[in-house]
């Protein structure tokens, strides 16, 4: 089964979603990510969704949930690179991901985690 790779950079985990997200893949990612956070003792998670140009309410909620789970495990999550059309769709769906930190691209996301002293 297809899986989304999780890269480790020191205390940081980098997830780049480059394929079309479907529900099962999203759930598998949640599983993988939570176990990797525990295993690697990660303090920060960066989810890059710049290649994602279609989202539905499930994927939107899943992104929010993943961030919440990571926070419970004491890893700060930043969602980076959201496309304008995706942002508009999520807002129209009523999913403002209010608990999730966001940044325009990976570089700014890293900077954000660095200023917070996370990594």
């Amino acid at each position: 089964m297809e899986r989304i790779p999780i890269l480790r950079m020191g205390k940081l985990l980098l997830v780049t979603i480059q394929v079309d997200m479907h529900d099962r893949l999203a759930l598998a990612l949640q599983d993988d990510l939570t176990s990797r956070i525990v295993k690697d003792g990660a303090r920060g998670v960066l989810i890059d969704i710049s290649s994602l140009d279609v989202v539905d309410s499930f994927i939107g909620r899943m992104i929010g949930n993943t961030a919440a789970m990571a926070r419970v495990l004491d890893a700060e999550t930043v969602v980076v690179g959201m496309q304008p059309s995706v942002a508009i769709t999520l807002v129209e769906l009523g999913l403002t991901l209010s608990g999730v930190r966001t940044a325009l691209n990976v570089e700014k996301g890293m900077a954000l985690l660095a200023t917070n002293g996370t990594v």
Binding site: V79, V80, M82, P84, A87, I88, V91, T96, T102, L104
Partner: protein
């Protein structure tokens, strides 16, 4: 009830064209000349065209049916006339009178021609009356449609004109909103803003609502949506230009703006934005400013903290 008498009516028009024109013209001239928009010659020309088309359509069949293909030319003529008058600034009534002015003269001619034959007179009167009602309503409909087209076009133009996104500084965008925010405009504003955030890599967007006349719950909701969408892209929003009355309205309506930074003026918001991006404005001597202006593009006069 079937409307009959097409041939007879066509005959009536042929016999009395001059007289009908004179009587119709007397009524129409009063309207058209008051407006000063349609010349006498053009009016006569329009009438001649109208009557000849009308006669052709009436003569084509004994049954009078405005919806049938035989009336296509009459409809096309009336549509053009109504559209033209709508553009020239006639009222709907004045436009419909183009048709209705002919009703009274026509009834008088009918009575003269068929004074003794009460049954035929009644039949033809009904036919003429119904037909002219249809014609009149048709002109009004076309008139209305063409006016609506004008309104739609203006709305679109307004939409394009009124949503600029301005770059205030490196990484700081301003979005001066002018006029009421409805759903369609919010959509355009949001798209423009997000696109600009991607292009410039801006970290802060200032939404200035000085030009928004009223903020009700719907407008506030639209604002919050825009703020949420910008945040998802990693940009913080500051809402500025909140007038005292608007602040009062927002609180009275119970709108919750506590998650958004708000400032009374664009200047105050700009200072906050500079602080958050780690820049500050320092006062220098006039000579320094002059030198800085000569040697750099202006961005450098701000010192990173």
């Amino acid at each position: 009830m079937e409307m009959v008498g097409g041939m007879r009516l066509a005959q009536l028009f042929t016999n009395n064209q001059e007289q009908l024109l004179a009587e119709w013209f007397a009524q129409q001239h009063a309207i058209a000349s008051r407006r000063g928009l349609v010349g006498e010659a053009e009016l006569r020309n329009q009438f001649a065209q109208f009557v000849s088309l009308l006669m052709a359509a009436l003569g084509s069949s004994e049954r009078v049916d405005f919806k049938s293909p035989a009336w296509q030319d009459v409809r096309a003529f009336l549509a053009e006339m109504s559209t033209q008058r709508a553009r020239q600034g006639f009222t709907p009534v004045e436009t419909a009178m183009f048709v209705f002015s002919l009703k009274q003269p026509l009834f008088m001619r009918l009575r003269e021609a068929l004074g003794n034959d009460a049954a035929t007179l009644a039949d033809l009167t009904l036919t003429v009356s119904t037909l002219f009602d249809d014609l009149g309503l048709f002109t009004t409909e076309v008139f209305q449609t063409s006016r609506e087209q004008v309104i739609v076009r203006q709305q679109q133009e307004l939409l394009e004109l009124s949503t600029p996104v301005v770059q205030l500084w490196d990484g700081i965008l301003a979005l001066p909103l002018i006029g009421t925010l409805d759903s369609a405009r919010t959509q355009v504003v949001m798209e423009n803003l997000l696109q600009k955030i991607v292009e410039t890599g801006a970290a802060i967007a200032i939404i200035d609502i000085t030009g928004v006349p009223t903020v009700d719950t719907l407008v506030a909701q639209h604002l919050l949506k825009t703020v949420a969408a910008a945040r998802l892209m990693g940009a913080d929003c500051i809402i500025s230009g909140i007038r005292p009355q608007i602040a009062q309205t927002i609180v009275h309506l119970g709108v919750n703006l506590s998650n958004v930074t708000t400032k009374a003026t664009l200047a105050a918001a700009f200072v906050i934005a500079l602080q958050r991006t780690g820049k500050s404005v320092t006062a220098g001597s006039a000579q320094d400013a002059l030198r800085a202006g000569r040697s750099s593009d202006g961005f450098d006069s701000l010192q990173p903290e």
